[in-house]
C-alpha cells in the first residue's frame, strides 16, 4: 500500500509537472507570437463562407486560432482606416472591397507588401485587372483577390409572367441586348402592371458605367465626365423619365421592403448579390432567375484579403491568406455563399461549371457568372472615384425626388462631380 501510495504520488507529480510545463510553453509561445499558439483576427462583412474553412484550418494547424469578426460593410472599412491611422488595433487579416481598394492601396506602406512574401507567384493565377486593382502605383501588392462581381441581371420570373413577358432565361436575355431595349421592356412591364420596373436610377447608372471602357477617371486620375459617365447618366435619366424607377436607395430598409412588396422586377446582380436576395426575401425562392445583362459585362464589387503591417503574426496571417485563396477553398466558398473566385482557372472547374442555384430557379450561376467574369474589360478606378460616385448618385436621387428636371441634371452632376473630385 505504501509503495502504491508513493507511486501514485510520483505519477501525480509528473503529471502536474507535465501540465505546468505544457501550459508554460503555450503561454511563452503566445507572447512571442512565434512558435506557440497564434491567434489571427479576421475582419470582413456579411458572410464570406469562412465558418467551415476556419474549422478546417484550425484542425490542420493546431497552433493557430482564428477569430472571425463579421461586421457591417462600411463600418468594417472605416474601422480599418481608423486603426491604420492609430497604428494599433487593426485585425491581422482584413477584407477590403473594390469600393475601398483605391483608398487603401494609396496607403500601401500600412500593409504587408505581399510581393515580399512570395506573392509574385500568384500574379499569373489572377484576372490581370483584379491583380492590378490592389497594387499601389509604386508596385506594392497589398492584397490577394478573393471574389469578383461580374454582372448579370436578376429578374422575378413570376412578375414577368403576370406582365405577359417571357420567363425563360434565354428568352429574357434576348429581350434586352442593349439598355435601350431594356428600357422598352420596362415600359411594357409598367404599362401592363402599373408597378415599377427597376429599384432606382442609380442602379441603372452604376452597371452601365461599369461597362464603359473609361469610368469617372482616366489613368492619369483626371475626371472624364463626358465619356462613360455621360452615357450612363443619360440612360438612367431615360429610365426615370419613363417612370421605371421605384426610387429606393440600395441596402436600406425601404429597399429590403421593396423586395417583399414586389416594388421592382429586375435587379442588376453580381454573384454576391444572390446571397443578399436570399437573406432579404427567403420566401421568394424559385421566383427569381438570372439573365444576361444588357450591354454585356461589367463588374460590381469583389474583395481582397489584406494583411495590415502593424500585426504581430504577419507570417502566420500571410500563410492563412494564401490558404484561403487556394483553389479548393475558393470553390468551397463559391458553393456555400456564391462568391465567384477571381482566378480564371477555376472557371473551367466542373465544380463551378455544373453548379446550379436552387434559390434562383436552378439557374447555372457558375456558368453565367464565369462567362461574364472571363469577358470583363478592366476599368481604372480613380483615387476619388468613391466620393465622385456618391455626388453623381445624389444628383440622380434629386431627379427622382422631383427636385431637379432630368434635362438640367447633367450640368449639376458635372459641377458636383468636379467638386467631389477636388475635395
Amino acid at each position: 500500500m505504501k509503495r502504491l501510495g508513493k507511486a501514485t504520488a510520483a505519477a501525480g507529480l509528473a503529471a502536474a509537472l507535465a501540465l505546468t510545463g505544457c501550459s508554460g510553453q503555450k503561454l511563452e509561445g503566445g507572447d512571442k507570437g512565434g512558435s506557440g499558439t497564434v491567434t489571427l483576427k479576421v475582419a470582413f462583412w456579411g458572410d464570406m463562407g469562412l465558418d467551415k474553412l476556419k474549422a478546417e484550418y484550425e484542425a490542420a494547424h493546431p497552433n493557430v486560432k482564428i477569430v472571425l469578426n463579421s461586421g457591417e460593410y462600411n463600418a468594417q472599412h472605416e474601422d480599418l482606416q481608423k486603426k491604420l491611422v492609430a497604428g494599433t488595433g487593426a485585425p491581422d487579416i482584413s477584407a477590403i472591397d473594390e469600393g475601398f481598394i483605391v483608398q487603401f492601396r494609396s496607403q500601401a506602406d500600412k500593409f504587408v507588401n505581399l510581393m515580399d512574401k512570395g506573392g509574385a507567384d500568384y500574379q499569373s493565377k489572377y484576372l490581370p485587372w483584379k491583380w492590378q486593382e490592389s497594387m499601389s502605383p509604386d508596385g506594392k501588392q497589398i492584397g490577394l483577390g478573393t471574389d469578383v462581381g461580374g454582372l448579370a441581371m436578376c429578374y422575378r420570373s413570376d412578375l414577368f409572367k403576370k406582365a405577359g413577358l417571357p420567363t425563360d432565361r434565354d428568352a429574357v436575355s434576348k429581350l434586352w441586348p442593349t439598355w435601350g431595349d431594356f428600357i422598352n421592356v420596362g415600359k411594357q412591364y409598367v404599362s401592363k402592371t402599373g408597378k415599377k420596373f427597376v429599384d432606382s436610377g442609380t442602379n441603372m447608372f452604376n452597371p452601365v458605367l461599369a461597362q464603359q471602357p473609361v469610368g469617372f477617371f482616366d489613368t492619369g486620375d483626371k475626371l472624364q465626365m463626358d465619356g462613360g459617365p455621360k452615357v450612363a447618366f443619360d440612360i438612367s435619366m431615360k429610365a426615370i423619365d419613363a417612370g421605371l424607377s421605384a426610387n429606393l436607395a440600395s441596402f436600406q430598409p425601404n429597399w429590403d421592403q421593396g423586395f417583399k412588396k414586389d416594388q421592382f422586377a429586375v435587379l442588376a446582380c453580381p454573384a454576391w448579390m444572390i446571397g443578399h436576395i436570399q437573406d432579404t426575401a427567403p420566401d421568394q425562392a424559385g421566383k427569381w432567375d438570372i439573365a444576361a445583362i444588357p450591354g454585356g459585362g461589367g463588374n460590381w464589387g469583389g474583395s481582397w484579403w489584406t494583411v495590415p503591417s502593424q500585426g504581430k503574426n504577419i507570417d502566420a496571417a500571410v500563410d492563412f491568406v494564401k490558404w484561403m485563396v487556394a483553389p479548393e477553398q475558393q470553390i468551397e466558398v463559391f458553393k456555400t455563399v456564391g462568391n465567384l473566385p477571381s482566378q480564371p482557372d477555376l472557371y473551367k472547374d466542373p465544380a463551378v461549371l455544373d453548379y446550379k442555384k436552387e434559390f434562383m430557379s436552378n439557374a447555372p450561376t457558375g456558368q453565367i457568372f464565369a462567362a461574364t467574369a472571363a469577358g470583363l474589360k478592366p476599368q481604372y478606378l480613380g483615387k476619388k472615384a468613391g466620393p465622385t460616385r456618391v455626388a453623381v448618385e445624389d444628383v440622380i436621387t434629386q431627379v427622382q425626388q422631383g427636385k431637379l428636371k432630368s434635362a438640367d441634371a447633367w450640368a449639376v452632376a458635372v459641377k458636383d462631380a468636379e467638386k467631389a473630385a477636388n475635395s
Binding site: Q103, Q107, P253, N254, G386, P387, Q398, S423
Partner: protein
C-alpha cells in the same frame, strides 16, 4: 475640527518634536491638498479625453493631413481655415444646423416647461407620469431614430398616413427627405421627442423648491395660472433654465445621429441628395472619413467649437435677461 484640536499639542508634548512636526505637516497636507486630490480624477480624465483632443485638433487643423495622399503631409498654416470661409458646403451645413437647432430647441424647452408645470400639480400616479416622460431619454438614439426613419418613410410611412387622414398628399405622398423644410421638421421632431422629458424633469425639480405661499399670494392678487408660470415660476427657476439652454445649444449644434440615420443613404453622410439636412457634425465626419481630409475636418471642428462657445454665451445672456433681472 481636527486642526483646532491639533494646534496645542506641540506645546504640551515637547520631547517628540520631530514626530509631531511630521504629523502637523501631514494634517496640513490633509486639509489643504486632499480636496484637490479628490477632484483630480475628473481633471485628469478631462485632460486626457477633453483637453488633449481639443489641442491636438488645433494642431491637426494647421496641417495638411490627407489619408489618401500621405506624401502631401505637412504644415498648412491657416489654409484649411481660409478654405472654410469660401466652402459653400460648410455654410449650407451651418444654415441647416441652425435651422434644425431653432426648430428643436425652442419648442422643446417651451413644451418641457409646460409639461413640468402640469406635473407639478397633484396628479394621480404622479411617479408613473414623471418616469414616463423620461422614457424617451432612456431609449438609445439609434433605436429611436431607426423607428422615426420608418415613421417618416415616403412609402407606407405613418407620418404620411396621418397626413392622408386630414387630406394631404393623397395623390403624391410627401417625401420627407426631399426638401429642407420637411426634413428639418422630421429631424427636429426626433430631437424634441427625446429631450422634452429630460428637460421637463429638470424644470420640475427646480419648481418644487419654490415656496407655495408665493403662488398663494399671487392667486390672491388675481394672477391666473399662465401669468403665474411666466411671472413666478420661470424667474424662480432661472438658473436651471440657463443650464438647459446652454446644454441644448451644445447638443443642438453638435447634432449628428439623427440626420445621419435619417438619410436615405447613410454611408455617404451627405445629409440628403442635395445636402438638405447635412449638419456641421455630419460634414466634419464626411470630410474626415469619406473624403479622408483630416486636416480640413479638424479645422471645421474648431470652427464648430468656437461657434458653440459664442452661441451658448449669447443664449445664456439672453435667458438671464428673460428671467429675474426685472
Amino acid at each position: 475640527m481636527s486642526l483646532t484640536q491639533l494646534r496645542p499639542s506641540p506645546q504640551h508634548s515637547a520631547p517628540p518634536v520631530q514626530q509631531s512636526r511630521a504629523k502637523l505637516w501631514l494634517y496640513r497636507f490633509d486639509t489643504r491638498a486632499t480636496p484637490y486630490v479628490f477632484i483630480a480624477p475628473f481633471f485628469v480624465l478631462f485632460a486626457i479625453f477633453g483637453l488633449f483632443p481639443i489641442v491636438y485638433n488645433a494642431v491637426v487643423s494647421l496641417r495638411t493631413w490627407r489619408l489618401d495622399e500621405p506624401d502631401k503631409d505637412g504644415w498648412a498654416g491657416f489654409a484649411n481655415f481660409t478654405k472654410l470661409l469660401t466652402d459653400s458646403d460648410f455654410w449650407n451645413a451651418l444654415y441647416n444646423t441652425f435651422g434644425i437647432f431653432l426648430l428643436s430647441t425652442v419648442p422643446q424647452l417651451l413644451l418641457a416647461l409646460i409639461v413640468a408645470n402640469l406635473l407639478n400639480r397633484k396628479l394621480r400616479g404622479q411617479t408613473w407620469w414623471r418616469i414616463g416622460i423620461l422614457l424617451p431619454y432612456l431609449t438609445p438614439v439609434v433605436a429611436s431614430t431607426l423607428v422615426f426613419s420608418v415613421f417618416f418613410a415616403r412609402d407606407n410611412g405613418m407620418a404620411n398616413w396621418f397626413l392622408s387622414l386630414v387630406g394631404f398628399g393623397q395623390e403624391q405622398p410627401l417625401d420627407w427627405r426631399a426638401d429642407k423644410w420637411s426634413s428639418w421638421i422630421a429631424i427636429a421632431t426626433m430631437v424634441n421627442w427625446k429631450w422634452i422629458g429630460y428637460n421637463a424633469l429638470l424644470y420640475l425639480s427646480a419648481m418644487q423648491t419654490i415656496p407655495k405661499d408665493v403662488y398663494e399670494a399671487a392667486a390672491v392678487d388675481g394672477a391666473g395660472p399662465w401669468r403665474q408660470l411666466w411671472r413666478i415660476t420661470v424667474p424662480m427657476i432661472q438658473p436651471v433654465v440657463v443650464f438647459t439652454v446652454i446644454l441644448s445649444t451644445i447638443g443642438g449644434l453638435q447634432l449628428f445621429n439623427e440626420p445621419m440615420m435619417f438619410d436615405q443613404n447613410p454611408q455617404s453622410a451627405s445629409g440628403g441628395s442635395a445636402h438638405q439636412f447635412q449638419t456641421i457634425a455630419q460634414l466634419i465626419y464626411k470630410v474626415g472619413w469619406k473624403d479622408l481630409n483630416l486636416g480640413y475636418a479638424a479645422a471645421m471642428s474648431w470652427a464648430l467649437f468656437l461657434i458653440i462657445l459664442i452661441v451658448a454665451g449669447i443664449n445664456a445672456g439672453l435667458t438671464k435677461r428673460i428671467g429675474g433681472d426685472r
